[in-house]
């Protein structure tokens, strides 16, 4: 029988959160001072949680691998943040936001969590505005909204193309205020390498000081993971270079279950790969699809001429262009959800109609929009994105269509958490992208920022109190205890082992190889044979890695190769689990597309009878297959249906 209990409060969906808050235990202000909380990560979720918990009076220690909390990769989110404010009076409501999120996630998310997310979304906007986040405004001085990522209402608040940056700076400023007040202590340039459990509860962490290489021990009454997503398992992704799974993975190895690891989002509008030296991919905001039209040539001879640079894209007549999204999905056109748009691009490129020097790109054309709205209007909407594109590709989107191709962007999977955002380890919480909870098998645009901030500002500060209320008699922990000794020793041994393994190949090489396997077999489309092959290749890679990887320099100094070595070791293990998860899920849903399970028109075919569950994996040991647990998903409010965007 499953060990998973989501602990969803009783009562009607719309009243669960209120009921929970009314019934949860509180911690007296005098006792909060005696309680320590560790927060790992300073993105939207981590920074907002640390700031809010510090403000409540807890002693917070916050960790980030960056030199300052303001650099966490939430900063790169461009498009916007959803909220059910209904300011435009177009029929939005908490229920509709909830409904869209569940449907967009292809019915693989938990109703209660998503409804709560929709409920608190409005509070986020209020708080961010009060913090001074400069959201876009009308001439009236009031906030403006846009429709985003295929939503049929305008519920997205945005700050030009830099919404993530502005929201993160808001959370960072709140965090800075608490640091100045002394309630939060910042540990920057730290990698968190292990969790410490005492009597089965999360009681601390082992961190490596990236400047000195020192192994540090930190104890607390509860630990909050907010270390983001694991898209870098693909080597090339839109994640930051340092984004990693290590803190979450160390929790997994200590018993926290990892849910739906194979659910990755491939974002349709990224700048295509230029060559072998490519180190990361750059996302162009999805908002571009509001005005840009996606196409490839309809005739193979035009494809060839383009590739040989005999003609320019603009030379191809309207009738010879295949606006394949508009053709296949007349109702939504270019605004279909991300997974659908990505797969459609892959389908065209696989069929040989791709453009660009590599043949793996499609056009995103603004010529019509410029004609319709004027150059200036397009410039004010997308000017900074066009500029960014031009810097990277050296072509102006005003003159020639952009070229785009899908890239790994977000991971819906993550540590399994219950309604309180607690993992299967008591006292260990996971918030933001590093948990699995709200996006099902596919995340809608402008929902990641919403979830990160909802978790950090408005959910965790309540739910963690319910746990800590029982911990007020627990004294501060001694980091010289045997549990800490063991964990610290294990980390030191592991680092020594990697350092002394004495291979010839660099960490980056291994990472690149892993990425190729993942992208090939566990990317936009998956099939059983491919996944079996991937499993074999990754296991081989893991063995090879443990036999030897080349690490220059020393452990007790600033050494980026050591950082990467630990991260890549974890990515290899994670890759294996992702493949297993993709293999066990014999259906297609959202970002998970199994070629064996598709409709006659090539759309994802869900199997609700057998797979309407969350697949949570339990670690069984390094060379033992992980064990799958199922949390059956109950849909009481929403009737499951085939997603259709036609």
């Amino acid at each position: 029988m499953t060990r998973l209990n989501a602990r969803i409060p009783e009562g009607p969906l719309a009243e669960k959160w209120t009921a929970y808050k009314s019934g949860s235990k509180l911690v007296n202000p005098n006792n909060k001072r005696k309680l320590d909380i560790i927060v790992i990560g300073t993105g939207l979720a981590g920074a907002s949680a640390a700031a809010s918990l510090g403000q409540l009076g807890y002693n917070v220690k916050v960790f980030c691998y960056q030199d300052t909390p303001r650099r966490a990769h939430s900063i790169a989110a461009q498009g916007g943040i959803n909220a059910a404010k209904n300011y435009p009076n177009d029929g939005d409501s908490a229920y509709r936001l909830f409904y869209d999120t569940i449907k967009g996630g292809d019915y693989r998310a938990r109703e209660a969590n998503v409804y709560r997310l929709a409920q608190v979304s409005n509070q986020i906007i209020d708080l961010c505005v009060a913090q001074g986040v400069p959201f876009a405004r009308e001439y009236s001085g009031l906030l403006t909204n846009r429709s985003f990522g295929g939503a049929q209402v305008s519920r997205t608040f945005y700050a030009r193309g830099q919404t993530g940056q502005q929201l993160l700076l808001g959370a960072y400023s709140a965090l800075s205020r608490q640091i100045a007040a002394g309630t939060v202590k910042l540990y920057n340039r730290r990698d968190v390498l292990d969790m410490v459990l005492v009597d089965g509860k999360a009681r601390g962490i082992i961190a490596r000081n990236l400047v000195t290489g020192e192994i540090e021990r930190h104890a607390a009454h509860a630990v909050v993971l907010a270390n983001g997503g694991y898209g870098n398992v693909f080597f090339l992704s839109t994640n930051a270079m340092g984004s990693n799974v290590t803190p979450a993975w160390s929790a997994y190895r200590k018993g926290a279950m990892f849910a739906n690891p194979s659910f990755t989002q491939i974002h349709p509008t990224c700048i295509p790969v230029h060559g072998d030296a490519q180190s990361k991919l750059t996302l162009m905001s999805e908002s571009l699809r509001n005005d840009g039209r996606i196409w490839v040539p309809a005739k193979m001879k035009d494809v060839e001429k383009l590739r040989n640079k005999e003609i320019k894209p603009s030379d191809i007549a309207e009738a010879d262009r295949d606006y394949y999204l508009e053709r296949r999905y007349p109702a939504f056109g270019n605004l279909v959800p991300r997974d659908v748009a990505s797969r459609a691009a892959k389908e065209r490129c696989d069929a040989g109609f791709g453009v660009g020097s590599t043949g793996v790109a499609v056009f995103l054309d603004f010529a019509d929009a410029i004609k319709r709205k004027g150059h200036d209007a397009i410039d004010s909407l997308y000017g900074n994105l066009f500029q960014m594109y031009e810097q990277i590709v050296a072509e102006s989107p005003y003159e020639t269509p952009m070229m785009i191709y899908p890239a790994v962007h977000y991971t819906m999977g993550g540590l399994w958490v219950d309604y309180e955002l607690m993992t299967t380890i008591p006292g260990l919480y996971a918030i933001g992208e590093c948990n699995f909870s709200d996006h099902g098998a596919n995340r809608l645009g402008a929902s990641a920022l919403m979830q990160g901030l909802a978790d950090g500002y408005f959910v965790l500060p309540y739910t963690i109190g319910n746990y800590l209320a029982n911990e007020i008699h627990t004294p501060r922990f001694d980091t010289a205890s045997s549990e800490f000794n063991l964990a610290a020793q294990a980390v030191t041994d592991r680092l020594q082992q990697i350092k002394n393994s004495g291979g010839k190949e660099s960490v980056d090489n291994f990472h690149r190889r892993l990425g190729k396997i993942m992208w090939e077999y566990c990317g936009m489309a998956r099939n059983d044979a491919g996944l079996t092959e991937a499993l074999y290749q990754i296991t081989e890679l893991r063995h090879e890695y443990s036999r030897g990887v080349k690490i220059p320099g020393r452990l007790d100094e600033y050494n980026p190769e050591v950082e990467k070595a630990c991260r890549v070791a974890d990515f290899i293990e994670l890759g294996e689990l992702m493949v297993r998860d993709a293999q066990q899920r014999r259906e297609s849903c959202g970002g998970h597309f199994r070629e064996e399970y598709q409709t006659s028109e090539g759309e994802a075919l869900r199997n609700d009878d057998e797979f309407a569950f969350v697949g949570a994996w339990e670690y069984r040991g390094r060379d033992v297959a992980a064990e799958l647990h199922r949390e059956e998903l109950q849909f009481n409010e929403i009737k499951l249906s085939q997603r259709s965007y036609k």
Binding site: P134, A277, K504
Partner: protein, 257 residues
Amino acid sequence: MNFTLKIWRQKNVTAKGEMVSYDVSGISPDSSFFEMLDTLNQKLITTDGDPVAFDHDCREGICGTCSLYINGRPHGPVKGVTTCQLHMRAFKDGDTIFIEPWRAKAFPVVRDLVVDRSALDKIIQAGGYVSVNTGGVPDANTIPVPKEKSDAAFDAATCIGCGACVAACSNAAAMLFIGAKVSHLALLPQGRVEAAKRVQNMVACMDELGFGNCSNTYACESDCPKGISVTNIARMNREFLGAKLFSEKEKVIKESL
């Protein structure tokens, strides 16, 4: 493309550093500057060399982590981009490229090209925020903000905190960085409430940290990857003088229960 690189190498904060010369070859003009350095590092790793440490993270020009002083300019020769968005096509084949860390007393070198910019965090901690708590705030639309003000605030708020302004300044001053934050918040009604206190605290903190003074050369604006204008410095000066001259003496109020 082939390049000769002259790179600052320094083991740690106390060690003596020096410029060391390296050659890289076969670089694609479409490579980013960091991909070029990645190529160098991979070569160094496989030949038992010591790879060059440099700060980088998002590689899309928004996180502000990257910090190279390239050929006498922070973030290199192209205007309005960070180092990670600099592409090798901006250089000529065979060029010699000088790569140095940001230089300022307030930014000690951690290793090679990596510097410690926590001084900028300290300035923000001194007051770069609106003192609101989570919860208990009014509905977002009860605070109207004139669009022009909101846009100007946004322009200032795009600062990515990379420190290029300090690196470019002949006096290693941080005035553009703090001017941007002071302006962002002073322009908005939400930030107006504690504007006088904020600017004084932030300036005092900046002075303590050992940054230089502004001599209005505007190198900061010219090399800011986000094009933040020096009008923000003027606004800060105005805010500061107004606060110093006209704010009332602070009263200590004891809140007894």
